[in-house]
């Protein structure tokens, strides 16, 4: 053991207040008392410009939380499964519910919405439970974006649907439809694991300020996270499953196809071909590659909403960074963005993992006082309930702020100088996935690489790891757990999963 490390070890206990390594040393976690009598599963959240927080719950109550005196007031109610919100002003809130995008307005100033205006409902519903609707988010030009999940073969469709029915698929409409005494189990294997038989399920839609709507991108499965990053990229997270080897993070471009084929039947000019009968290699070529992957079980199983860190809410190095929620595990995820020849790709890092945060981290909002509110849900899947308020205490922690892919490794920028003596025994694991109709993919072609060749900049802030050539379409996992800073702090978030879409030249 080298002398410095021995010193750190033996004085570790004494110095623990100075050299903290628990999230609790940097953040406070406070459970907010949710309103009495309300199922506290949170579907949507939004910050109001006056410091309050709007929260939509599972049964459709939209309530406003006043942190000053810890009170709740009812703004609206009766919504069905609200899963997204955009606060236009304290008396005007857009909410995405199952059947439509709705603008709730308090027209008479009594603090309660009295107008529920349908902004967009021109999409299909089969009544299948898995047809969730997400969004809206708004771009600089004022366009709104919503994204529509596909149905699950856990259930058939209802007798009455809304919108157009697609006849494309192995099962006829009658076979797809519930009926008394019908054993759906005999049909479900032929519907596709997740299916899109009503119009625009699996599509991301763009709604212009004049009300016109265009189908913008396709290929979504269960896209329970949509948001713009600080650079104006439209990000969507989706859930592991059929055609999803593990949960992906996508950077959306107009006309893009994002991998789940069911939605393709609603493409303009689609000629009746069953996407499930197409060559997988052809679909693979059509799809826009994910900009990041959350490895199932290790990082996240059900990633949720992306949100941008405002100035002052987190250490300076995280300002403008995107963080993402996760329902299944006790963690959030930081998105370290990188660009190679104009291609956006990311390193994903666990954040607040195994802290008092807990599970079910569904919706995120930063209020004007820089608090991060995390609303939880489960909807009978894995998750949680209630709201946790997280506040940074202003102390810098030792972490990776930036990652840059190199032709033969990675350059990492740290928030504090790295102790050169801790730079040893670093490892990288990498693997790829198989794109297929099956639910999830095992890791393919796994390899562990020992990183012997490293270079630390003279200021100690930049560490270059020579791993050998990076591999395109592989998820590279850097294992940095035992790095510590010059002043002895442990690394907060010691793993980075970097998806190499493009290898730098």
């Amino acid at each position: 053991m080298n002398p410095t490390r021995a010193f750190v070890c033996s004085f570790g206990l004494l110095l623990s207040t100075l050299h903290a390594d628990s999230w609790k040393d940097y953040f406070t976690f406070e459970k907010i008392k949710t309103p009495a009598g309300v199922d506290s599963q949170v579907g949507a959240m939004g910050a109001l410009p006056d410091g309050r927080l709007a929260v939509a719950f599972h049964r459709g109550e939209l309530m406003i939380y006043q942190p000053k005196d810890d009170t709740w007031t009812l703004f609206g109610s009766g919504l069905q499964e609200p899963l997204g919100m955009l606060v236009e002003s304290p008396d005007k809130i857009l909410v995405m519910q199952r059947a439509e995008l709705t603008r709730l307005t308090d027209t008479d100033g009594d603090g309660k919405a009295d107008r529920y205006e349908t902004v967009y409902d021109d999409f299909g519903m089969t009544g299948n439970y898995h047809e969730f609707s997400y969004g809206p988010v708004k771009d600089k030009e004022g366009n709104l974006y919503v994204v529509l999940g596909v149905a699950s073969n856990g259930s058939p469709i209802r007798k009455e649907i809304r919108g157009e029915f697609s006849n494309i698929g192995e099962l006829s409409r009658e076979e797809m439809t519930e009926a008394p005494g019908k054993d759906w189990g005999k049909f479900k294997d032929k519907s596709g694991r997740m299916y899109s038989r009503a119009s625009y399920r699996g599509w991301l839609m763009k709604i212009s300020p004049d009300g016109s709507v265009e189908p913008y991108a396709s290929g979504f499965r269960s896209p329970n996270g949509i948001g713009f990053d600080a650079k104006g990229r439209l990000l969507v997270t989706d859930n592991q499953g059929d055609w999803r080897p593990t949960s992906p993070l996508y950077n959306i471009t107009e006309g893009g196809f994002y991998g789940h084929p069911a939605s393709l039947v609603w493409s303009k000019g689609w000629k009746g071909k069953d996407p499930l009968k197409m060559d997988v290699s052809k679909l693979d070529k059509m799809q826009v590659p994910a900009a990041g992957y959350f490895p199932q079980g290790e990082l996240a199983n059900s990633p949720t909403q992306p949100i941008v860190v405002p100035e002052g809410a987190m250490p300076e190095g995280m300002t403008g960074e995107t963080i993402v929620g996760e329902m299944n595990q006790n963690t959030l995820i930081r998105v370290l963005d990188d660009e190679v020849d104009g291609t956006f790709q990311t390193g994903l890092v666990p954040f607040l993992k195994d802290s008092p945060l807990g599970h079910g981290n569904h919706r995120l909002a930063f209020t004007t006082d820089k608090s991060l509110y995390v609303g939880k849900t489960a909807l009978s899947w894995a998750g949680g309930t209630g709201i946790t308020r997280i506040r940074w205490n202003g102390k810098q922690f030792f972490t990776v702020d930036k990652i840059k892919a190199l032709p033969d490794g990675f350059a990492l920028k740290f928030s504090e100088p790295v102790d050169p003596k801790s730079v040893s025994g670093l490892k990288m694991e990498r693997h790829t996935y198989e794109y297929h109709a099956d639910y999830g993919s095992p890791k393919i072609d796994e390899k562990t690489i020992t990183i012997d060749d490293t270079e630390l900049s003279s200021d100690g802030l930049t560490l270059t790891l020579k791993t050998g050539p990076l591999k395109q379409n592989y998820l590279h996992q850097l294992i940095l757990g035992h790095l510590h800073s010059k002043d002895g702090s442990n690394l907060m978030g010691g793993q980075i999963w970097y998806q190499v879409v493009k290898v730098p030249r």
Binding site: R59, S77, T102, S380
Partner: protein, 293 residues
């Protein structure tokens, strides 16, 4: 000697099982713990129950994990665990068998814990939820504590009215919407078609609330229609008020339901058989009274 060998082998087996179980614990936490708790059903069955099914049957356990079926109505289907290698699934099996050994199942609560909460019992009230005998964009409305109706925002029309109570949303709310709400009470009136005839091309525009009661707006051709409801006292029926922005100058003929369980009157125009005849002026603002028989 034999005895010793037996102990050695047993201990060896026990040790290897313990090793498998501890490796299984890591995999279990990563892949299973979110849905399976030790001693009570969460999303899926408890480890206690899984143990009772798969004790000594690792192969059956494996088969299920790779291609899960549906056993329990009203619960979520388990996704395939094919991404975990066989050895890992066997370790998870060993872990579950070891962990649940000697543990007893806890009883879980049943029924809607919010059934008597004030927000759920506000009257009148509007609640969007999947409803029986309606399109999927259904809206349930409690006009008062006795009379309720189902309005379909997809086809822009009233579907049915009932008396008794409102809805039991628990079948929907306790999970993720795989079940519809149940109506509480008796259906007293069903409308097979809108009074305006075919609603193809009708556009739902939303609703306004006044005293908690909704006024629905929808556009049919170039006409904006406002439709609102009030209950008659004592669950005897309801009034239905229509406002049309620009009724055709030639007037309108509306089709009234032939549901024999109600009588229908209009405060404007005249009724011939099951047809309500209105002049343009009358069609701009009229009220139907639907009385349950």
């Amino acid at each position: 000697m034999k005895f010793h060998a037996f102990i050695c082998i047993s201990l060896g087996i026990a040790a290897s099982q313990a090793r498998a179980a501890s490796e299984g614990e890591v995999l279990f936490k990563q892949n299973c713990s979110a849905c399976h708790a030790l001693d009570q059903q969460v999303v899926g069955p408890s480890l206690v129950e899984i143990r009772s099914i798969y004790l000594g049957k690792p192969d059956d356990f494996l088969k299920w994990c790779l291609a899960p079926g549906k056993k329990r109505p009203g619960t979520i289907d388990m996704p395939s665990m094919a991404h975990i290698p066989e050895a890992g699934l066997r370790q998870i099996h060993a872990y579950i068998m070891a962990t649940a050994d000697g543990v007893k199942e806890k009883k879980s609560a049943s029924g809607d814990p919010f059934a008597s909460s004030p927000t759920q019992n506000e009257r009148p009230t509007v609640q969007r939820i999947f409803m029986p005998n309606s399109g999927p964009a259904a809206i349930a409305v409690a006009l008062d504590s006795m009379t309720s109706l189902c309005w379909d925002a997809g086809s822009c029309r009233l579907r049915y009215a009932w008396t008794g109570g409102f809805i039991d949303g628990w079948p929907y709310w306790h999970a993720n919407g795989s079940e519809q709400a149940k109506i509480i009470g008796t259906v007293r009136y069903t409308e097979e078609e809108s009074p305006f005839g075919s609603m193809d091309g009708a556009k739902f525009k939303g609703y306004e609330l006044k005293g908690g009661l909704p006024k629905f707006y929808y556009k049919l051709g170039s006409t904006m229609i406002g439709e609102s409801f009030t209950a008659l006292d004592g669950g005897k029926g309801f009034k239905r008020h229509f406002e049309l922005s620009s009724p055709p100058s030639s007037g309108m003929k509306l089709k009234l339901s032939d549901d024999p369980k109600v009588s229908i009157e209009s405060d404007h125009g005249r009724i011939e058989g099951k047809t309500l005849i209105l002049t343009a002026a009358e069609a701009a603002d009229f009220t139907l009274t639907i009385q349950f028989q």
